[in-house]
């Protein structure tokens, strides 16, 4: 009976701790969550767009006050869902870039600033949509979002290229680390005279050549995106840049298989 209050206190403390550990923290908001939000909002948008098409055709057919009211509500819902879709899409690509290892830090910061600005615009635009007004007002609001989307498009592609480029850089960085230790080991073998290192050194040069080609292709990809800069980056320039990055990655695959061969050769006598 003497220790009962202490035991109760500990029990309470543990239960509070457990409850606290189960509540989601803001830090848990990662790409997976952001992407799930985007998919959810995009689904709402798709349904809203179907409703809009239906009520629009009814309004154009009957021109009654009721059909006008329905068309207004459907359009308003569509504009709101569209803004939410874009807002969550921007957040998803931001999170993806943030979590991609290898992406250039300075470039990341620039893109984050641009994305945050666009997210803020869409939130503001969503709030400003009038709950009552005319269809013409909504058309005007939609046109504002349309021009914003057109200026946003290069930012989408730029971010996607930064994500893909980050993946390439990450693999290459790791390969270069392996290559450096491999060169050190070969130098050690040369000094000890255990093996003829001439072939190994030649293979190292070949591997370095592949890595250099990979870098060239990566730079070509960024050049393609930069050339389409100034708000005119289109899907085609994105695809061209992506193609260069895929080529760059292919060179890294080949370089990796060269590394495996060199390591295997070290493991055997001449």
């Amino acid at each position: 009976m003497k220790y009962l209050p202490i035991a109760l206190f500990f029990l309470l403390f543990i239960s509070v701790k457990l409850a606290h550990s189960q509540t989601p923290t803001p830090e848990e908001f990662n790409f997976q969550r952001a992407y799930a939000d985007y998919i959810y909002n995009f689904d709402i948008y798709r349904k809203a767009n179907l409703d809009y098409e239906l009520y629009r055709s009814q309004y154009l057919q009957f021109k009654t006050l009721k059909s006008q009211e329905n068309a207004y509500n459907a359009t308003l819902a569509l504009l709101k869902a569209r803004d939410a879709s874009l807002e969550t899409y921007l957040t998803a690509i931001r999170k993806k870039l943030d979590e991609t290892q290898g992406a250039d830090g300075a470039k990341k910061e620039i893109l984050f600033a641009k994305i945050d600005q666009e997210v803020a615009w869409h939130i503001e635009h969503n709030k400003s949509l009038p709950s009552a007004g005319t269809l013409e007002d909504l058309v005007g609001d939609s046109n504002k979002a349309k021009s914003r989307f057109e200026t946003d498009t290069p930012l989408f592609y730029e971010t996607l290229i930064a994500i893909s480029g980050g993946k390439v850089i990450h693999v290459r960085d790791r390969q270069e680390t392996i290559l450096t230790s491999l060169k050190d080991k070969i130098a050690e073998i040369r000094v000890s005279g255990d093996k003829n290192t001439q072939i190994l050194e030649r293979w190292i040069l070949d591997t370095e050549g592949k890595i250099a080609r990979s870098k060239e292709k990566e730079q070509e990809a960024y050049a393609r995106i930069a050339r389409g800069g100034g708000g005119t980056i289109s899907a085609s320039s994105y695809n061209e840049a992506l193609f260069r990055l895929k080529e760059s990655y292919q060179y890294l695959k080949e370089a990796n298989s060269y590394l495996s061969e060199i390591i295997n050769e070290i493991k055997f006598e001449d």
């Binding site: 995009f42 893909s164 392996i178 992506l242 990796n256 493991k267």
Partner: protein, 161 residues
């Protein structure tokens, strides 16, 4: 001085199974041909020039002759079918033998190499593990973010006909 061993030759040669069948068929065909030749003179009567109306000659074939000819033709046809079948199976049996000959021509040489003192070197083993891990990651990774392609949204909002 080498002494020749007197070899006792059997009067009937012992060919292999395939040539045995072939020889049997050939012998049968030749026997049938000889039989047909001998029958030819007996069966067919020399046409007697009996003048029917208008001076046309007739050749008479008895019912028995017709029957014998039909049976002979049927036997001949059956023999031809057997010949074709035998030659077809002979070809099929000999095919795999050719394939094995080809395989015998290709030889793989396995060179056994002696491991160096670096085969168990910790640094080398670490590098090997890192390279393998990286290879797996490279093969798994997808450069393109297909799920994050910009959404296709409807911006064509208007109420014109």
């Amino acid at each position: 001085m080498q002494q020749e061993n007197p070899t006792v030759q059997s009067p009937i040669p012992t060919p292999n199974k395939k040539s045995d069948v072939f020889a049997l068929v050939t012998e049968l065909v030749s026997k049938i041909t000889r039989a047909l030749d001998s029958l030819k003179g007996k069966l067919f009567t020399r046409p007697t020039e009996s003048t029917v109306e208008g001076g046309i000659s007739e050749v008479g074939i008895s019912a028995k002759t017709k029957k014998i000819v039909t049976v002979t033709a049927a036997t001949f046809f059956t023999l031809i079918v057997i010949l074709i079948t035998v030659s077809y199976f002979k070809g099929r049996i000999s095919k795999p033998a050719e394939e094995t000959k080809k395989e015998d021509g290709v030889q793989t040489t396995i060179i056994e190499r002696k491991p160096s003192r670096y085969a168990s070197d910790e640094v080398v083993l670490n590098m090997e593990t890192d390279t393998k891990t990286l290879e797996e990651e490279i093969n798994k990774a997808e450069i393109e973010e297909k799920s994050l392609i910009p959404p296709n949204l409807n911006f064509n909002i208007n109420f014109n006909q």
